[in-house]
Amino acid sequence: MDLVERYIAAVKRELPTRSREDIGRELEANIMDKVDALEEQHGPLNQQQVNDLLLEMGHPRTVAREFYPPKPLVSVQLMPIYLNTLYMVLGILFVISSLEVATRWLSGSEMTLFLLMKGLLSSFLNAGYFAFTWVTIAFIIMTRDNKKQQDNDSCQWSPTQLPSALNNWQHIRLQDIFTDLASLLFLALVIWYPILRPGPDIESIFNNETWTVLQWFTPIIAIGVVNSLWQLRTRIWTRRLLGINIGVSSAFAAMALWLMATRPILRLDETTWEGTLSVASIELSVLVFVFVVLVISLYEVIRDLRRLTRL
């Protein structure tokens, strides 16, 4: 009966410690009952017959899983809130990482685009691992502690509390909000860094005329940030939010057009870039970037106008 003992031991290994002996003892009794019944019919069982009998019982892991079905770390009821929280936290960290890296870039420690992107990725991933771990641990604890509370919460709702958003597109994705937020704050930091930075004065990366106009553009950026934060609260496109978005996107399109017409956009010192990139190629890259901003802004204006007519 070595095979039976090996089988019982294999099942026990897959079980929680507190139940191992009890379930193992009962499973062995049941298997031995079956062996007895078969031996009554066919005489003593050989190794192959015992092997077949155990195969019929099922793989030890499958049997153990039937006794103790695996419990998910985060319950199904909490999963949507868990994912939402995770995206929110990661989104906020993305915004913070963008600002942190932008500050380092503007202070001149990392000048190339590659290093800037690498810095952003590295900063975001470091904070992201930490946040992921703690958010997950918090929800594991909530899953263990608040099972009854979840059931109560899902009963306390009313259809009248549901937002009147009938179109799929009305749902605003978190990643869209955080991308907008990070871009707007990044732009605000680039514009205001020379003034806000403590210590000795440094020059803006923009030429004087562009910089002045961009400073006057700050209220539009502020409206965009408030609009994004409001979107974060409602998560649904309404006529008012669409109207504000059209206004902000139009202002961005106008600013992009003005920047394309007013060159050079940047204040570039040829000696700093000597031997790496030509000033003309950097100016061209910025121009292409501004053109992309123009296209995206115009696309958003047209998209939101069409949406507005459908609401």
């Binding site: 009962e26 009952d33 079956k34 019944a37 039937e66 006794f67």
Partner: protein, 116 residues
């Protein structure tokens, strides 16, 4: 071994029914193997790998009482309905009868339509 959608439906259908069948048979005390034999004799096939964990789960829910008995050099765990188990069996039996009454005409109608 792959599980087809049809197998999954069968499994889902059998899951609740098997619990009801086990509760019904455990009005009398049984140990695991004897319960399986009883089920087989009643025409209900069930794997041991499914039956034994099912009995444990029902016992963990307080629906079954259990005790170890020793006889002819062999120990066996006997299970029997608890007071709570009897109450649940009664409720489940009523539910089953009500479902069966509602379902039978539907299935009969379906068979009649297929026959036409």
């Amino acid at each position: 071994m792959t599980t087809t959608p049809s197998d999954k439906l069968k499994l889902e259908l059998r899951r609740g029914v098997l619990a009801l069948a086990v509760l019904a048979l455990l009005k009398e005390p049984h140990y695991g193997y004897s319960l399986r034999q009883q089920l087989q004799d009643s025409g209900i096939e069930i794997d041991e790998g499914t039956l034994y964990p099912l009995i444990r789960r029902l016992a963990d829910q307080g629906l079954l009482d259990s005790e170890w008995r020793h006889a002819s050099g062999r120990e066996r765990r006997y299970y029997q309905l608890s007071a709570l188990g009897r109450e649940r069996l009664e409720q489940l039996t009523q539910e089953w009868s009500s479902l069966n009454n509602a379902l039978s005409p539907l299935l009969t109608l379906n068979n009649a339509l297929e026959g036409e």
